[in-house]
Amino acid sequence: MLGETEPEWLSEEVKTGTTIIAIEFNAGVVLGSDSRVSAGASVVNRVMNKLSPLHDKIYCALSGSAADAQTIAEIVNYQLDVHSTEIGEDPQVRSAATLVRNISYKYKEELSAHLIVAGWDRRDGGQVFATLNGLLTRQPFAIGGSGSSYVYGFVDAEYRRGMSKEECQQFVVNTLSLAMNRDGSSGGVAYIVTIDEQGTEEKVILGNDLPTFVDQ
């Protein structure tokens, strides 16, 4: 008891070791994430929804430090709210991504979070933006988080242009399932958000219902 130090995970920063993915289809976007939040070796929250709304039809996927990512999402949510009131209409996805990028770039030394911004707007339809380390780039799909390393090969091989909404949702679920199986910091359930002109649909896929692959 004397001189015994407490477990490290008590004072370690809470990270969302994560798998996040966003993909664009012809009329919108599909975002997906796992649900594990860890502090060292301890799972702090096994059902956290990492897909955070920035506006009605714009969502962002959180990864990295939980506190940093949550705070950036909240600040940008507020800034977008003000911006959309000022312009009198729904904001563009590029605007949301730019706001996230501005924070990520200005405070890049102090922050440790990567947000993928995706959504639908009237001007350009479905769009996915990556904002890693303060860059801003539009991509057909983006993956992030610690689990993404394990599925780069899969997404590069399996992605095809012109997939339908259902095919995209299946692609996202497959990717998440593969990453969650291989990455220790990803797991739990899968959250899927589909955004198109008609609206936003949120779905949860429980552990048992995730697709299984070889050796399962």
Partner: protein
Amino acid sequence: MARPNVLLTPAAGFDFDNAARNVALEGLFEGGQTPKPLKTGTTIAGVVFKDGVVLGADTRATSSEVVADKMCAKIHYIAPNIYCCGAGTAADTEKTTDLVSSNLTIFSLNSDRNPRVVMAVNILQDMLYRYHGKIGASLILGGVDCTGNHLYTVGPYGSVNTMPYLAMGSGDLAALGILEDRFKPDLELEEAKELVRVAIHAGIMSDLGSGNNVDICVITRKGADYIRPFQESEYKDTRKMKYRYRPGTTPVLTEKVVPLELEVVQETVQQMDTA
């Protein structure tokens, strides 16, 4: 910086003003190691049930390996309908919850409305994030307001989680084991109290930093019921806290009176001004 008054809007964005000062302070200590704040091992838990929220905590406060306080109160008052359990550095949890409580009281008086749990969560998250984990407070907030029954946890770095059942502190894994196994949605009051009691008890048994009694706080629409202690420790302390003796307990054997002869040397009169 912590805002003493919630009516002042803090500047937008991140505030890293203290970063340079902290670096300078580190240079003042030998080896660049700033002194580590004392942590108190704890088990705190909360459960949402049908009619409200039940919060529970142990009552041991430790200073390294010595129990500093056997009857420490870890469930703090925030508002009549909101209570907060605190784990981590005792001074930090105490001061942080006091700050939030006074902020919400000012808000209440200003707007003539009852405070909501999300308000407390937002103020806490904002403040803890600004201090980047230097304030070692892990808090479980629970309360009932016009929007329903709420239970949130805020970590020392400013991350927020909301779940129907939560546990924090050094005994959290033990308590979480019980909660994961026995929690069901829409519990009755007695079931919820029993579940929290068992969860805290597991923390007390399995964690060296938690111990002594179990405190419970039940919050419903009607109000809050703070039961302290809910369950007393099996190991009772039979030492008397007060040692008072009746006059005459000690027998007087001899008595000797010596008058002191005093001489008046100087006499001064000072007028008292009663105006």
